[in-house]
């Protein structure tokens, strides 16, 4: 055997190393699409850093990111621009990855954390914190994660307790999401005017006034959760063939599903805690990534990059194109995402996959 073998058979390019014994299928299109999307995302990130009341030339942005440039520019970049851009980048990636995990695991495009009550759970907990007065700073993060986990647990027990179908999960999830939304509405209605305004401001999802205290918890969480998803990702390939086939192929189904569920919920929860519920990103990003990459199921990493790009681009649209309207990012993604949801529903019914 030569040191490196590659071959192209049945439209797939495969590689095999003699030592160490590494081998796999090289999916050329996803690699190309992923690289391209990452480049565009980086460009959007740079524009986001450059744009503002004090315009920074794009040529100065990249050096400033690495700590080169005049002190004034560095101060603006580090203290004002980076937290917002990084929050957008990380929140988008967290939502995209979370959606990919849920959708790939259930084989159902509607099973994303914003549809099945996970984000709604985080929402209720954070709003409760704001209204009842214990939800500042780290409290928001903790409440968001706890709320999301509780909602996910309820959905899991009701829908997945015995046997699983993606359809059942969506139905139960939508029910739980509505319950959480009602609770949130009740809290806002009963709140004092100042708290109510703070809660509503948080509820639409926004990147305004983000600081490093928004970035740090999310970045830490993702440093743990992203590698976890990549390691667990091997099981996604069998889980979407259904529990019996996955078991037949040696996947420890219950353990794999709980591990993936916890990572997916964690990503959605920390994302929500950092920027509020930015709607539809978790639902739409994996679907777009899947189509761009030409795969049958959402590819996790490309979904994450797509999510980051959607949030950064949406934020730029609201800041630059719709500057007068001062729309928060959550409204932009909501307006753009709703038609995609409709399209998914129509398509799901036509293929008879039940969602």
């Amino acid at each position: 055997m030569t040191f490196l073998e590659t071959s192209t058979a049945a439209g797939r390019t495969t590689f095999r190393l003699a030592r160490p014994a590494v081998s796999g299928v090289l999916a050329l299109r996803p690699i190309a699409v992923g690289t391209l999307l990452a480049a565009v995302t980086f460009a959007a990130f740079c524009v986001s850093v450059a744009d503002g009341r004090i315009q920074i030339p794009l040529t100065d942005v990249v050096p400033a990111l690495f700590g080169h440039g005049d002190p004034g520019t560095l101060l603006v970049v580090r203290e004002l621009r980076l937290p917002r851009a990084l929050t957008g980048l990380l929140v988008g990636a967290a939502f995209g990855l979370s959606g990919a995990v849920f959708q790939a695991m259930t084989g159902n495009p509607l099973a994303s954390p914003d549809m099945i009550g996970v984000i709604a759970g985080a929402q209720t907990a954070v709003v409760a914190g704001i209204v009842l007065g214990f939800g500042a700073g780290l409290g928001t993060q903790t409440l968001g994660v706890v709320g999301a986990l509780i909602a996910a647990l309820v959905v899991y027990l009701l829908a997945w307790g015995r046997g699983t179908t993606g359809y059942r999960l969506v139905l139960v999830g939508v029910g739980v999401a509505w319950m959480c939304t009602s609770a949130t509405d009740y809290l806002v209605a009963r709140a004092m005017p100042y708290e109510a305004r703070a809660a509503v401001g948080w509820l639409v999802g926004s990147l305004n006034e983000r600081g490093w205290h928004h970035v740090r918890p999310l970045a830490l969480a993702m440093a743990v959760l992203v590698p976890a998803v990549l390691l667990l990702g091997r099981w996604l390939g069998t889980l979407h063939l259904g529990d019996p086939v996955a078991t037949a192929l040696g996947t420890p189904v219950s353990y794999a599903r709980i591990a993936l569920l916890v990572t997916g919920v964690g990503l959605a929860a920390f994302g929500t805690a950092a920027a509020g519920p930015i709607l539809f990103v978790a639902l739409v990003s994996p679907q777009i990534a899947q189509r761009l990459a030409g795969r049958a199921t959402p590819p996790p990493l490309i979904s994450a990059v797509t999510g980051a790009l959607i949030v950064l681009a949406g934020d730029l649209v609201s800041r630059i194109v719709l500057a007068d309207a001062r729309l928060p990012i959550g409204v932009v993604t909501g307006v753009l995402g709703a038609p995609v949801l409709l399209w998914l529903l129509v398509r799901a019914n036509r293929t008879g996959s039940g969602g």
């Binding site: 014994a21 069998t238 063939l241 040696g250 996947t251 199921t297």
Partner: protein, 286 residues
């Protein structure tokens, strides 16, 4: 087999598997479907389970593949309880194709068949020499090589079923369990799939257990036939001994005559029904 394999590494070379169940008690939620069932699967043979609807035949097959945890009793593979073994280790010895599995839209045949290798794959080793050999072999055996790049959902029913069987073949297990592999196929494709099962048994020496609805096909393709009713085995053995008019009456509650299949010498049943059966049969009656 009295060998104690606990604590010793699994041997690399596949040895003839020995699969048997003792005192099986199976059910879903509140209902018990099978109670106190013993079964020894003949190694290297094709075993077919027949029986009426809801007689527990699929339930039994699922428990043999540890898809269903028994309420009592155990399934043993080479002397060890399969429910106590790591599921990945079982997946290298027993393959099962459940009834009408569904693949995500757009998944290609070769991607599906490659999934059959997952019991052997690691995060860094996804396409070893053995993986390639097993996948190519499975695609060739099922005649799916030319369709390797097509999405499953674009295939005809017969091709789709062969793609799934190819996945189970690629898993390279000495035991293969098939739950109604001919359901939803037209007659030509049914025979096609059953002939493929015979190839897997005769050529590769795999032990096959399958559930079939068609009694005549079961009698023709089985080396060992098991007739079930209400969760228990009514009779088992060579098809010629099992398929009799009395047994069919008992198991299926159906009046019939039993003749001999002119092409395979297997017993063949002709159901009577309410409107026929008055005439003297032309078949050589056993």
């Amino acid at each position: 087999m009295k060998r104690d394999l606990s604590g010793t590494p699994e041997p690399d070379l596949p040895h003839p598997p020995e699969l048997h169940a003792t005192g099986l008690r199976l059910g879903y939620d509140g209902t018990i479907v099978v109670d106190g069932l013993d079964l020894a699967v003949p190694t290297g043979r094709i075993t077919v389970i027949i029986g009426g609807n809801a007689c527990g035949k699929s339930t039994l097959l699922q428990s043999l593949a540890r898809l269903l945890t028994p309420r009592g009793g155990a399934v043993h593979l080479d002397g060890r309880s399969i429910h106590g073994m790591p599921t990945r280790q079982v997946a290298r010895r027993i393959g099962i194709l459940p009834q009408s599995p569904v693949a995500p839209a757009g998944l290609t045949v070769i991607d599906l068949v490659t999934r059959g290798r997952s019991p052997y794959q690691t995060w860094w080793r996804q396409w070893s020499v053995e993986d390639e050999r097993a996948v190519t072999g499975a695609l060739t055996a099922t005649g799916m090589l030319e369709h390797a790049n097509r999405p499953i959902d674009a295939l005809s029913g017969g091709q789709r079923q062969r793609a799934w069987i190819a996945m189970a073949i690629a898993q390279g297990t000495p035991v293969l369990l098939l739950d109604e592999p001919t359901t939803y196929l037209d007659l030509a494709h049914q025979i096609d799939v059953l002939d493929l099962v015979v190839d897997l048994n005769r050529r590769d020496g795999r032990t096959v257990v399958m559930v079939l609805h068609d009694i005549n096909q079961a009698a023709r393709y089985a080396d060992h036939l098991i007739a079930m009713k209400a969760g228990r085995i009514v009779r088992q053995g060579h098809p010629a001994e099992v398929v009799t008019a009395e047994l069919i009456e008992e198991v299926f509650d159906l009046d019939c005559q039993v003749g001999v299949c002119p092409v395979s010498d297997a017993p063949m049943i002709i159901p009577m029904g309410r409107h026929h059966g008055a005439r003297t049969p032309n078949l050589a009656v056993r």
